[in-house]
Symmetry: C2
Subunit: 156 residues, 2 copies
Amino acid sequence: MTLAPPTPSVVAADVEAAVELLRSRGLRVSAARRLVLETLFAGDTPLSAEQIAAGVAGRVPRSDLASVYRNLETLEEVGLVRHVHLGHGPGLYALAGPAREYLVCESCDAVRAVEASELDGVRQEIRDSFGWEARFSHFPIVGLCPACLAESQDHL
Amino acid sequence: MTLAPPTPSVVAADVEAAVELLRSRGLRVSAARRLVLETLFAGDTPLSAEQIAAGVAGRVPRSDLASVYRNLETLEEVGLVRHVHLGHGPGLYALAGPAREYLVCESCDAVRAVEASELDGVRQEIRDSFGWEARFSHFPIVGLCPACLAESQDHL
DNA sequence: CGCCCTATCGCGAGCTGGTCGCAGACACGG
DNA sequence: CCGTGTCTGCGACCAGCTCGCGATAGGGCG
């Protein structure tokens, strides 16, 4: 069993589809809103609000940071967007898609994204042991990646 | 196998033992430093830097926040103290002790602290699946506690 | 097509959590 | 009891994020 996120995810094929969805929910499609969507569709990795405000590749009509946060919040309520906290540093936002969960390395900051189903075994183990249902999509699993693990063992 | 923290933990029986340890490492035992230790020994749950600065129960000779952070950092380097990030909000500091790891509930903020060994099965599963060595002492497992899980299933 | 209502924007101020630089205080070895 | 250099307390500062507010502009409706 995979735990459902707070709001159901909605997957849009492209910016136009996303825009249509917004309209169908009675939300306006402002330039700033569209820009956030375009930037997210253009980027293939999760982006910080700052990066989105700057526009991918410093695209000219940049947008106000506060508005970006408000739009990301709105898009997240709609279910088009999800965000994740990879350790310290700013939260990162991405389009909703095939459920992603994360492992991040405390030592080198490497990030491994995996399909939620790949962590079902782990989730099961946690459920069996504690009765808790773990979600690693919003806060990841933190530890050592194989490389840093090997290195730390060399030093012993 | 339990992964060793960055600096080995040191367990002191009381403030005086901790103070002796500091001296033996060539560190000075200032009033502010002693206050941090006393506050940590007095509290039985992890405390924020702010709480420590205020002194447990608003104890009078409060201390400067920047100094508290510096002292916590020093004590952590020595191995007497560890800190954990339970979701959003400030980091929480506690005396090093029997290795603790954490599960926190996204919905009601409940925290469950467990012995590191209780999570060895989970760690093993992660190691087998991905080759990563997970640590839940600095960043916890986030998900739903049994109560919130049950509730969320009622609502379906 | 143009009006009007109001959702949304952009800006500035503000908040929390945490760090830094610096002058002065004080721990502690001699 | 003195010198040295660690630590302190203060203020400024930074990152990440949120809020309040007057101005702008989506878009339903006539």
